[in-house]
């Protein structure tokens, strides 16, 4: 494969904190530290290596860039101080903005998560999954949520999700859970999105 710096330059310039990967010395701590190391094919180190080699398609279509759970472990341990988590999110965001969806389910979940915040100004542990499940229609959604029942029960057991949230009217009556001044929040988010779009253009 040919080495080519075009993509690396694109990343340095257009991806959030993208230029910080320059100082990576390829030690591999990030990939071995990641709680999702079992799920990731490459991990941050190899993705940086691919960026340096100019493998645009491989990187932007790589599901790994959407697997980051923001636990910060790699970022805290990186001996070169690379803000790995930020770059991973930056890459995912950049891929989506280019119309590339490396991991459809994650993208859907992200969309649900984001819409929840946009609509209500807060993250509701019940609203997000239901929005996520219903994106493909009611029947598919019910099927999907039944498939995820174990996770739901586990969340309840760990008191991360309250059963009362399951009362149907809460979901279908928008605005019940909205924060004060959600309109102002939405204006801020719109502005931020416009700035981002200008940067990526």
């Amino acid at each position: 494969m040919d080495y080519n710096q075009t993509f690396a330059k694109e990343v340095y310039e257009k991806v959030d904190s993208g230029d910080e990967i320059k100082v990576c010395m390829q030690c591999g701590v990030c990939g071995a530290t990641c709680p999702l190391r079992g799920e990731m094919k490459y991990g941050p180190r190899q993705i940086w290596s691919l960026i340096r080699a100019g493998r645009r398609d491989e990187v932007l279509n790589n599901p790994d860039i959407m697997l980051c759970t923001s636990c910060y472990t790699c970022q805290v341990r990186c001996p070169r101080g690379v803000p790995i988590m930020e770059v991973m999110h930056g890459l995912a965001h950049y891929a989506l903005a280019q119309g590339i969806v490396p991991r459809a389910e994650t993208a859907k979940f992200g969309k649900a998560f984001w819409e929840g915040i946009y609509d209500t100004g807060r993250v509701d542990e019940a609203v997000v999954p239901i929005k996520y499940c219903l994106q493909d229609g009611l029947v598919a959604g019910l099927k999907k949520s039944l498939g995820m029942m174990d996770i739901g029960l586990a969340l309840m057991k760990a008191k991360r999700m309250k059963p009362k949230m399951f009362i149907p009217p809460n979901i279908f009556i928008p605005g019940v859970h909205k924060i004060k001044g959600v309109k102002q929040l939405q204006r801020m988010l719109d502005k931020a999105a416009a700035i981002d779009a200008a940067k990526e253009a």
Binding site: M1, D2, Y3, Q5, A8, K9, Y12, K22, V23, C24, M25, Q26, Q46, S49, L50, R52, A53, R80
Partner: protein
């Protein structure tokens, strides 16, 4: 001088309880130490004061029977003119004889008293050697690069006259070709200016420095404190010490024609050529470039060692390209990035500027093309082969070779009796030795500094890096090992220190490292010399020249006082005032050898002072014990052991001898380089002599005892005693 002798017996540390002091005094009395004083604790202020009072009253030869000569040295030193002989009753008798019978322990102590007594009566206080005429105090620096310039400035600023000789028409060496320095000072991110102009200003402005450019050394005669140097320009200089800072030569890139296509394109250049381009401002138009690290270095087919500077140089040169054209694609293809210490930041800075580092495997990249180049390499971190296309230039980070002629010595067995084999070995060594010279030393052993691996002219590169095998001649900078510029700079300053010190020692008439301050030196009873050349050949430091009739011409200021010449001499004509064939022979003969039927064998251990003796002391202090039938005699170096001592011992009924010394071979520890090796070779030849005397060769053993082998001392001795038991008593007992 008239000797006034007195013995002092310490009763402390168990000596008084374990030994019959009357017997000890009587034994020493047999060897001329008649007068004795005892003290409960001889090293106490009261004990020392007692001795001092005697010294003040004229006593000048002291037999101090107490602890090891390595202990309480301050307490028992009374100035240069007072001879002190220490008898180690504590370490060598009391502490190590827990399992011995009382009378064996007593006999052990009494033997040591006799041995100490005879050594004291036969020794004289050394008188320092004085060079004839005025001692030359100037320092000659050969080589005007970074290391030599710093050496010259440092010595001059410490007050020495300096002669600086440079073969090129201008001073500066490699610095003259350098555009910028890589980051050297905190925060280690900025390229720095070449320090040459500032250095040249210092040199030209210094009244103590006289510079000779366009000159080489035709001839170096003499010795420390009295070197005469003839230059190619006809000048003749006198100097007291010499610093060789002749730097390095880039590895010949022609040799990389096969591996790295050098010569196939004008765009494949070395790091040295690239630096020149940068200096001339010729880096415009580079859009894509690759640096190949370890181009020849770390390669058994080229330079097996790491050249230590190339990683940082490539970081620097990569920065040149990035600074000229931030959009350029710059690759460094490496095996290991070697940016040690604070220079790790330089690596980070190069990366920050966008330089891409690609880790390769052992195989060299393949380079093709002529104008635009293509390069294929294994990218270890992607785990696949990759190629770089459309490269404007490829820079080979070639390494450094020391500018010093390689000297290969024939193995010591070449001095053996098999003349044919010896001749062959000498020829082989000669063939590998390079026939050019920097200093053209007029030394019997050749014009150059003996070298270790890779023509690097040092002798103890861990503990004593400046020591070459030619006294008063120090090497500095990259001639000694590959190093970075800042290291070469500091190295020059240190070499100046060594040179100044060597001159002081020559003035004072004492030895330099490792017997620094020793005022004894070997004296030759020339009327008995048979011109056998062994001393002149075997001296590890080339101290002895020869006249046309092969008479030895000693140069005491070149001498390190190891006594190897004394060990070599078959005629026993070489002696120090306080160490001689006669003195040690007399010590051996002073040992009382019991009759055969008493079944008390006697074994002499000749122990190297630096390694074996401390190991024995430590073993004794740690409560180890061994046969009370052995007697230790410390020697300056195993190389000083004269075969006549073996004969003396065996003919006086001693049942066996062990020579304890340090490790020999490639990783030798001997501070006199070859002492241990020489002893081994000499002993291997003695077996024939033993056979003629109908004696078993098992009676002689050479044992390697490192300083931390104190746990092995007892085992070696006890095992040897078993051997002696099995071969039986020496048949010469009683003759």
């Amino acid at each position: 001088m008239s000797k006034k002798v007195c013995g002092y017996l310490c009763k402390g540390c168990g000596i008084g309880d374990a030994l019959d002091l009357g017997g000890l005094k009587k034994a020493a009395g047999e060897q001329g130490v008649k007068e004795f004083k005892e003290h409960d604790v001889l090293c106490s202020p009261e004990g020392v004061a007692m001795i001092q009072a005697d010294v003040d009253a004229g006593t000048n030869a002291l037999l101090i029977a107490a602890c090891s000569s390595r202990a309480k040295t301050d307490e028992f030193s009374f100035g240069n003119q007072v001879l002190v002989e220490r008898v180690s009753l504590r370490e060598q008798v009391v502490w190590c004889s827990a399992e011995a019978e009382d009378d064996d322990r007593q006999m052990l102590g009494e033997d040591y008293m006799r041995m100490g007594g005879v050594k004291l009566t036969k020794s004289e206080p050394p008188a320092p050697f004085q060079l004839e005429g005025e001692v030359a105090k100037a320092v000659l620096v050969v080589g005007g690069g970074i290391s030599g310039l710093n050496a010259a400035i440092a010595a001059a600023e410490a007050g020495s006259q300096v002669y600086l000789v440079e073969k090129e028409a201008e001073l500066g060496g490699f610095l003259r070709t350098i555009n910028k320095l890589g980051p050297q000072t905190a925060p280690y991110r900025e390229l720095e200016d070449n320090p040459l102009p500032a250095l040249l200003e210092k040199v030209s402005g210094h009244a103590n420095i006289k510079t000779f450019t366009g000159a080489t050394v035709d001839k170096t005669e003499g010795a420390p404190g009295n070197f005469t140097i003839s230059l190619s320009n006809g000048e003749s200089l006198r100097a007291g010490a010499i610093i060789q800072a002749t730097g390095w030569t880039p590895y010949d890139p022609e040799k990389l024609a096969g591996d790295l296509a050098y010569g196939s394109s004008p765009n494949i250049v070395t790091n040295v050529q690239f630096e020149q381009k940068a200096k001339e401002g010729g880096l415009g138009g580079i859009n894509s470039i690759a640096f190949i690290q370890c181009a020849g270095s770390r390669d058994a087919n080229h330079l097996p060692y790491c050249s230590a500077f190339c990683c940082l140089v490539s970081c620097k040169q990569a920065m040149y390209v990035k600074q000229a054209n931030p959009e350029a694609s710059v690759y460094v293809i490496y095996k290991d990035v070697r940016t040690p210490s604070q220079s790790e930041e330089v690596y980070r800075e190069a990366q920050r500027q966008g330089v891409i580092f690609i880790r390769r495997d052992e195989a060299y990249p393949t380079i093709t093309g002529s104008d635009k180049l293509s390069l294929e390499t294994m990218d270890v971190l992607l785990n696949e082969k990759v190629s770089l296309e459309e490269l404007d230039m490829v820079v080979l980070a070639t390494g450094m070779k020391p500018n010093n002629p390689k000297v290969v010595e024939a193995p010591l067995v070449a001095f053996g009796e098999d003349q044919e084999a010896a001749k062959k070995l000498v020829e082989e060594a000669k063939a590998q030795t390079e026939d050019w010279s920097v200093l053209n030393l007029q030394y019997r052993q050749g014009p150059n500094l003996p070298t270790l691996k890779y023509a690097m002219p040092d002798s103890h590169f861990i503990c004593f890096p400046y020591e070459t095998r030619r006294t008063g001649i120090y090497t500095s900078g990259t001639v000694r090992r590959p190093m970075r510029l800042t290291q070469a700079q500091d190295d020059g300053v240190g070499a100046a220190m060594k040179a100044i010190q060597a001159i002081r020692a020559a003035e004072a008439g004492c030895a330099v490292h490792p017997r620094s301050g020793d005022e004894s030196f070997p004296e030759f009873a020339m009327q008995r010399c048979t011109q056998c050349k062994r001393c002149t050949e075997e001296c590890p430091f080339g101290a002895i020249n020869e006249d046309e009739k092969a008479n030895p011409l000693p140069n005491p200021t070149r001498c390190r006082r190891c006594g190897v010449c004394m060990g070599a001499c078959p005629e026993r004509i070489i002696s120090f005032k306080n160490y001689s064939v006669d003195i040690v022979g007399s010590q051996i003969k002073a040992i009382e050898v019991p009759e055969e039927d008493e079944e008390k064998p006697r074994v002499v251990v000749l122990a190297c002072e630096n390694d074996a003796l401390p190991a024995i002391d430590m073993a004794a202090r740690l409560g180890k014990s061994w046969s009370a039938f052995v007697r230790f005699i410390p020697v300056r170096c195993l190389g000083s052991v004269n075969l006549v001592w073996i004969a003396d011992a065996l003919s006086s009924g001693i049942d066996g001898l062990i020579l304890m010394g340090c490790r020999r071979g490639d990783d030798y520890q001997c501070h006199f380089i070859k002492g241990s090796e020489l002893a081994n070779v000499r002993m291997s030849k003695i077996s024939e002599t033993l056979q003629r005397l109908v004696l078993e060769s098992d009676r002689i053993k050479v044992a390697e005892v490192g300083i931390t082998d104190h746990d092995k001392v007892a085992g070696i001795i006890n095992e040897f005693m078993e051997t002696i038991d099995s071969v039986g008593p020496n048949p010469y007992k009683g003759f």
